[in-house]
Symmetry: C2
Amino acid sequence: MTRSPQYPELDTPCAVINLDTVDRNVNAYQAYCDQHGIALCPHIKTHKIPAFAKQQLAAGAKGITCQKIGEAEVMADAGLDDILLTYNVLGTRKLARLRALFDRVKSLRVVADNVAVVEGLSRAFADSDKPLEILVECDTGGGRCGVQTPKAAVELAQKIESLPGVSFAGLMTYPSAGGGPKVGGFFGDAMALLDGLGIACPIRSSGGTPDMWKAHEVAHVTEHRIGTYIYNDRSLMARDVCGEDDCALRVVAEVVSLPAPGRAVIDAGSKVLTSDLLGLEGFGYVVGHPEVDVVGLSEEHGVLHFEPDLTPFEIGERIEIIPNHVCVVSNMLDQVHLVRGESIKTVDVAARGKVL
Amino acid sequence: MTRSPQYPELDTPCAVINLDTVDRNVNAYQAYCDQHGIALCPHIKTHKIPAFAKQQLAAGAKGITCQKIGEAEVMADAGLDDILLTYNVLGTRKLARLRALFDRVKSLRVVADNVAVVEGLSRAFADSDKPLEILVECDTGGGRCGVQTPKAAVELAQKIESLPGVSFAGLMTYPSAGGGPKVGGFFGDAMALLDGLGIACPIRSSGGTPDMWKAHEVAHVTEHRIGTYIYNDRSLMARDVCGEDDCALRVVAEVVSLPAPGRAVIDAGSKVLTSDLLGLEGFGYVVGHPEVDVVGLSEEHGVLHFEPDLTPFEIGERIEIIPNHVCVVSNMLDQVHLVRGESIKTVDVAARGKVL
C-alpha cells in the first residue's frame, strides 16, 4: 500500500505532478510511435504548460496539437512553432488571430468539416504568401464534428483546393473508443477517391489515449494525437491503459471533517476534481485506500464513504487522489507543483482557461 | 419564443449577465428577507465579483458568505468587511491568513464541526484583542460536514467557550433540499440544551437557494445564506424556484458544425458549462429552442441533438444557454460580460479559482 506524502510545503487542495512519471510516460509512447513510424502530435490540453510541450518535442514529437487559438497563442509565445489546431475556426476575430499566429510560427495547420469554415479560412488567408494547410475532419463514429462519409470528405477537399489561400493537406478524426477499424476504413475509402482525382493526401491523423497502444493497428494513419498519456488518470486505469504508478498528477487534499462513522470530508470538491465521471462511479481514486469511495462533490467539499467500522483518516491528514479525468483538473488550477525526489517547483498552468 | 441576441462585440464562448435581472433577483429576495425578519447573508460563490457583493449589501444584506479564505481575501481587498467563512479552517498557513484577514475587517466569523478545528482556531487567536466568533456547523440531513446531534453541537459549543481566543456565536447548517423541518428541530433541541447551560446562541444560520422562498417557515432561523439566486439557473427552473426570465447569466456559444441531420456542435464544452448535472438530463437549456437537447460535452465542444428533420441553426449562429449550475460556470471564466440595454461591460471574475 502506497502511503500518501504529506507535502508540508504545500497548501491544499493542490495538484502535484511526479516528473519521473512524466518522463517515463512521454518517452514510452514516443518510443512506441518511433517503432511504428507514427508521427506523434501531443495535445497540450492535458498539461497546458509550455515546458511539457517542449519536453514532448525534445523526445521526438512532430509538433503539438491545440484545440483553441488561445492555447496555441500561449504555446507560440513560449517558442512552440509547429502547431495543429483541431478546431473549426469561425468569425472575423478568431480568423484574424489565426492569421497573426500563422504569420509568426513555422507551421500552423487547422481542420475543417464544412464549407462555411473553409470559405472563412480562405478569405482570411487569400493574401498569404503560403497557403494555410487544412485537414478535413471526419466523423468515424465519435459523433461530434466531422464529415459523415468519405465522399463528403473528398468534396470538401475539392472545395479547399478550389479556393485561394488554403490547401488540402489530409484527413483528421477523433475516433470513438475501439474505433480503429472504422478509422482505417473511412480513411482508406477517402484516399482511394482522392487518388482517383489526383489529390494528394499526405497526412492522416487520428488520436486518443484510450486506444494509444493500438495506434499502429489502424490502417492508413500517419499521425497520432494524444493528450492524457503524459499524466494518465483513473479513467485510463479503469480501461487497463495504465497502472496506478503511471498516474503522474495527483490531487492532494486534506481531511477537514469526520462528521459521522463511515464518512470523511476533504477540502477538494468540483472546483478541483470536476464532476467528470467518464463512465466511472465516484469522483476519483484515493491512493492507498481502495476501501474508500469519493461519493460526492460540491464545489469546495469532497465526501468520502467507507465502512462505518473503519477509521482510515484523521482530521488534518492529507490524501492523494487520482482524478477521473486529469485534463479538466489542469484547467481548474492556476498553478501546479512539479515534484522530483525531494524537490518541489511550482509553475503556472499557462494555457489554463483559454476557451477563446 | 425568445430570440438569441448575437452579441457581435463578443467572442464566443462567453457568459453574459443581464443586470436588470440581477437587480430584480437581488431586490426581490432582500424584500422577502426583510418582510420576514431574516438576516440575508449572500454567498459570493455564485458571482465571485466584489461589485455584486456590494450591490447585495447596499440592498440590505447583513454581510457576505465565503467558502474559502482566498475568496474572502479578494472580497476584503475590495472593501467588503463583514464576512462569514463557512468552512473548517485547518493548518498553520490557512490559520495565519485567517488571522490576518480578521485583523483587517470589521467582522469575520467562521464555522467548525470538530475539536481539532476549534483548537487550531483557538491557538491562532489566543492573543487576539477580541475573540473569533465560531458557529457550530450541524448536519441536518445534508450529509456533508456538521456535528450529527444537538447534544454534539452543545458539547462543541462548550469546548469553544472553554478555550481562549474564540467564542461560540451560534449554529449553522447547509440543509438538504426540503430539509427545513429538520433544521428547525435540530436547532430547537440544541438551543434548549444551550439555554439550560446558560450559553447564548444568537445566530442560527441556514441556507440554500432551492428552498429560498420557504426560509421563513424554518423555526429558529435568524439568518439565511444563499448564492445562486442572484443569477439563477436551469436546476432552479426545474424545481420551479424561478422562471427562464429570472436567469441572469447565459452562456453565449456559436454553432461551429452541423455534421449530420439532428446534430449541431457548439464551441462551449465542459470548460465553460462544466459536467454538473444536478440531477437533470442534458447539460443546459438552449434559450428559445425547447426542441434541442445538449446531450454531451467534451472539453471544448457541446453536442446538441434535435429531430433529424429540423434545421434550427446555421453554421456561425449564436445561441444562449442557461447552464444547469451557474456557480460553477462563473468559476470557469476569467471574465464575464455585464449587459444593460445596449451597453456591455466586461469585468474580471475576481474570486474565480480561489480554492485555497
